[in-house]
Structure formats: C-alpha cells, structure tokens
C-alpha cells in the first residue's frame, strides 16, 4: 500500500479548528485558560511550528531514544560508576534529580494546558507531544536514580524533594508554579517553552552533559542528552506564539512575560547550575565555567532569538551580565554554609588549585568571595567546625525565595531591595526581583518565605533542629561537606550531622 509523505498531509490533518454548535467559543476556550487576548481565531491558525512531526514518527523516535538511554544504563550498572565517582559529582546528580525530576513530570500539566486550550491548532498538536515528552522526563529521571537508593537516602530526594518544605524545593516550586501552573496557554508557551526551555534547560542539559562525559558518567550523559532532544523540539512552540502576539499588537505584553520569567529562571539556575559547574564538578572535568556557558547559551543564542523575533533584550540586561560574576558565587557559599538544610552534600570547591581556577575565570574572586573562604578555611584548619555552620537563617528574597546575596570582601556591595506593600515589608535580592513583584503584586503578595514562616511560628522548635524537621530532612539525608574538608587541607573531621 502506498503511503503519502507526511509533508503532503501534515498541514491538513492538524487543521483541527471547527465551529462549535453546542457551546460558544468562549465556553470552549475560556480566556483564563486560553489567553487569546482578543486575537481572532484566524490569526491563531497561522501558527506554524518549525519542527513538524507525526504521531507515528514521534512514537518510533521516542522508543529509540528510551531504548538507547536505558541500554546504556543497563550495560554500565554493573560497573558501579557511582561508587568510585568523585563525591562532588554525586552531589551534582542528587541536586539535579531532586530539583528537576518531579518538576519535569509536572511540566506535562503545562503542556497539557496548551494541548487543550491553545487557540492555535499547531500548538495543540505540538503540545500533545510535549506533554508525552515531560512524562518521559519525569519517569526516566525518577527511575535512573532509584538504583542508588541502596547507597544513601539522599538519592531518594529525586522523588521526595518537591513534596517537602525544604527551602530550595520551595524556591523551585514558587518559580515553576508561577511559570507552568497559574498561567494561560499563551503565557505558558512564552514563559515555559520560549524563555525557560530555549535558554536555560539548554544550558543545564548541555552543560551538564559535557561535564558528565568528561567525568566518565556515560549513563547520565546519555540520559540528559536524550531529554534535551525533546526539549529542543517542544521549546519551539514559543516562537510562533510570540510572532502572532507581535503581529497583533501585543509586543509589550509578550516582552514583559519574557522579562519576568527570564529573571526568575536566571535566579534558580544561579543556585542550581552555578555551584554545580563551578564548584561541584571535579576541576579536571570542568569543560567551561558557568559564566562561559551562560555567555554561550544565553547571551549568544537567546539574544539572537529575541532579535530575530523583533523583541528587545530585557531592560535589565546590563545588570544580568554583571551578575554573572557574582550571584552564583554567593548562592554557592550560602548552600555550602547552610549545608545541613539541603539534600545533597555540597562540595566547597575551594582548595588552592580550585581557587586558582576561580580567580582565572572570575578575576577578583580571591579578594571578594575568597575572603570569606579564607575565614572558613582557617576555622576548619584550627578545628573550629562549629563556626563553619549556621546559627540563624539567611534573609530570603520574597520573589526568588533564595538568600539575599552579593559580593563580600573588598567589593562588599550586598543590598536588600525592600518594599512595603499593603503594610507588609518585603525583601528582594535585586532590583529586578522587586520589579517582578511590582508587575503583579496580587499574584505574589500572599506567599510566605521560609523566614516569614519561621517568624510566624510555623517552624517549631525555633532552631536548626526545628527547621530540619520542617524541611523533612532526616539523619542520613542532611547535607555535609562532600569531601570531608580535605579541600581545606585537614584530615578526617567529624561530620556535624553525625
């Protein structure tokens, strides 16, 4: 039997708009879910995805992708790579899985919103595949770490993290909820697929895949490369949606959505990917610095994509570029110092050789962030471990829900961007975080940061033990220094959590 080539029927079969007879358009596509913004159906029908795929091709390709990743895992399982891997690399994997596996599964809901409510038939078609993609990403990233749960309970946080009040999980959920669950289909296409996936997941997955290959972790490298091929396909939904908005006089609205979520994504990656690439990955396996990855994947590629669409760089671009030398160093020091409150073992990455690398990648590091590490290192060398652990909470930004950090030492510039709104004092880690809040206060004002909850008495007892209980961090899960302080030139130290 002869078969038509897909390009001969593709456009026809995905032309699935019809005239409803039993309900009216507004009931079929409620504005709250669809977000058509008054743009007529004919305009949405011009949506033309750059990447076209039929269902049968999709299924066949996905099956091959899964077979590839699972067979690499099966083949290498006996090699027990993890047992000989550097502890910093193990932490990288645990942080990655906990922050992303369940969030990816949740992203299926966002794709489903487009699959059902987008006014553009092509968008609905692509999002159906996107939805299946995200289910795969959730499942595969829960399955791969599962074999390691026999090694430590921290691996279980791949599944557990997003269901707890652990602070990094709260921060990630706040951002993902804002971007994926509480927006109409058009906003999801722009914020999730264009701003977040085009820019940032590219970097997380390609950056980490490069480091994984260098570190000899072929299982993880093949896993995340496999995921990235899906991301780069379904990330292409945002472009055509943006084009329609711009053609119909909604450029400003589109621009604002990008500006808000780009910054939010940047902050999340500054705490997740920044420490991993510049501090956790063993020195000899670092392919590029975090800043170099950002310059290549964000500054280079994202900038060009905005340009091609006729959009502007976010208004805060200069500040964003400046912050590439700062924010993630502060986030890393915060995660390391408050290490009992995370589900992985942070690697300090501050040995003399690593500091030399940091200074070469970030000139001035020694005179700024290095000053704090000097004090920490000396404390460890003189046996004062208790001074390298926290006795209070950091002030948390009411937008990104991450600590308010800046440059220490000789370049001290730490600043809190405060705002009193309806009688409540809010704290923000940057002018842009505060700006995001001000664009839609009703959306954000009710949220309580972990510090707000602590002060409201929700965390009991009001000490570190109470905070760990609140965050569901049990013995064996609580983070300790990944290398037992060897980087500081000291012998075996007793772990604080023991």
């Amino acid at each position: 039997m002869s078969k038509l080539a897909s390009n001969e029927y593709y456009d026809l079969v995905r032309t699935t708009n019809w005239t409803p007879r039993y309900v009216d358009e507004a009931e079929l596509f409620p504005e709250m879910m669809s977000g058509a913004r008054g743009i007529p159906a004919e305009a949405w029908e011009t949506f033309d995805e750059p990447y076209k795929v039929t269902y049968s091709d999709y299924v066949a390709t996905q099956r091959e992708k899964d077979a590839g990743a699972y067979s690499v895992k099966a083949a290498l399982e006996r090699a027990n790579y993890i047992d000989s891997a550097d502890p910093g690399w193990v932490s990288t994997l645990q942080a990655h899985y906990g922050a992303l596996a369940v969030a990816e599964f949740a992203a299926a809901t966002a794709e489903a919103r487009m699959a059902r409510f987008s006014r553009a038939p092509g968008n609905r078609n692509m999002a159906t595949f996107g939805m299946l993609d995200e289910m795969r990403h959730g499942q595969i990233q829960l399955f791969f770490p599962h074999e390691h749960t026999k090694r430590s309970r921290q691996w279980d946080w791949a599944h557990k993290a997003m269901h707890t009040n652990e602070w990094a999980a709260v921060a990630a959920r706040h951002m993902f909820d804002d971007m994926m669950f509480t927006r109409d289909s058009v906003s999801v296409a722009i914020m999730l697929t264009f701003a977040f996936e085009t820019g940032f997941t590219n970097m997380q997955f390609l950056g980490l895949a490069a480091d994984a290959a260098e570190a000899g972790d072929h299982t993880f490298a093949s896993l995340i490369s496999s995921i990235q091929t899906d991301e780069s396909r379904h990330a292409q939904q945002g472009g055509p949606v943006l084009k329609i908005l711009i053609e119909n006089g909604k450029k400003d609205e589109a621009q604002k959505m990008i500006d808000v979520i780009f910054w939010r994504a940047w902050k999340l990656f500054s705490v997740l990917t920044g420490p991993i690439l510049d501090y956790y990955t063993p020195l000899e396996h670092r392919k590029q610095s975090f800043k170099e990855f950002m310059q290549e994947w964000i500054i280079g590629q994202f900038e060009r994509q905005l340009n091609d669409l006729g959009l502007d760089l976010p208004w805060y671009w200069d500040e964003f570029v400046r912050a590439l030398d700062e924010t993630h160093h502060g986030m890393h020091m915060g995660v390391w110092f408050w290490r009992p409150t995370v589900w992985w073992n942070p690697a300090a990455g501050a040995s003399p050789e690593e500091r030399e690398w940091l200074e070469s990648k970030y000139p001035g590091w020694n005179a700024t962030f290095g000053r704090c590490w000097d004090v920490i290192t000396e404390n460890l060398q003189k046996g004062r471990e208790e001074l390298t652990l926290p006795e209070t909470l950091p002030t948390i930004c009411n937008m990104c829900n991450l600590p308010v950090v800046g440059t220490p030492g000789d370049g001290w510039n730490v600043k809190d961007y405060q705002l009193v709104h309806e009688g409540r004092l809010y704290h923000f880690g940057s002018e842009v975080d505060r700006w995001c809040f001000e664009q839609d206060p009703a959306r954000y004002q009710g949220h309580m940061s972990v510090v707000d909850r602590f002060l409201a008495g929700e965390i009991q007892p009001q000490n570190l033990a109470g905070a760990l209980l609140y965050m569901s961090l049990n013995p064996g899960e609580i983070g300790v220094d990944a290398h037992n302080y060897a980087w500081a030139g000291v012998g075996k130290q007793s772990h604080a959590a023991e």
Binding site: G334, F369, V375, T388, T392, V404, V405, T407, P408, V451
Partner: protein, 86 residues
C-alpha cells in the same frame, strides 16, 4: 521588652541574615548580636574598630546607645553593620 527581628547586612559578608534582638537593646548590642553570625565565620575581625549600625535604606548611622524601639525600624527591616573608627 519585646523581641524584634532585624535583617543584618554585615560589612564584608556575602549574605543578609535574620537576627532577633530585644527592642530595648542598644545599637551596640544589636551590632554585637549581628557579629555573632558573621565575624569569625566569614568576616575577619577588625580589632580597634567599633561596629556601628546604620539604616540600610537611608544610610543614617544610629547613635551607639539608641534603643531599637526608638529607631523607627520595621520588623525584619535591614540594617548595615559597619566597622568604624568612631
């Protein structure tokens, strides 16, 4: 006498931190409380200097013996603690 939360932005440190003081505390006592969480943890001490408290939003340096309740600060408002010769 009532507890009063503040956010401590300590000179030379990388992060702002929650401190809880008494509203009858003087600014010198506030500075000392803030120092517990920064000095000798991530900030080297500066012998011979005094630690002064200033309002983060305005830069106004408070008198050393001023009580927290007289400073017009909001709960959790951020203060800077700086090393000073006087």
């Amino acid at each position: 006498m009532a507890i009063f939360p503040l956010s401590s932005n300590f000179e030379g440190d990388f992060v702002i931190q929650l401190v809880v003081v008494d509203d009858a505390s003087t600014m010198d006592e506030v500075a000392a409380t803030c120092a517990v969480h920064s000095v000798n943890r991530r900030v080297a001490p500066q012998p011979g200097k005094v630690m002064r408290v200033r309002r983060h939003s305005t830069g106004e340096v408070y008198p050393r013996d001023m009580q927290v309740k007289s400073a017009g600060l909001l709960p959790t408002e951020t203060i800077d603690v700086i090393f000073s010769d006087i």
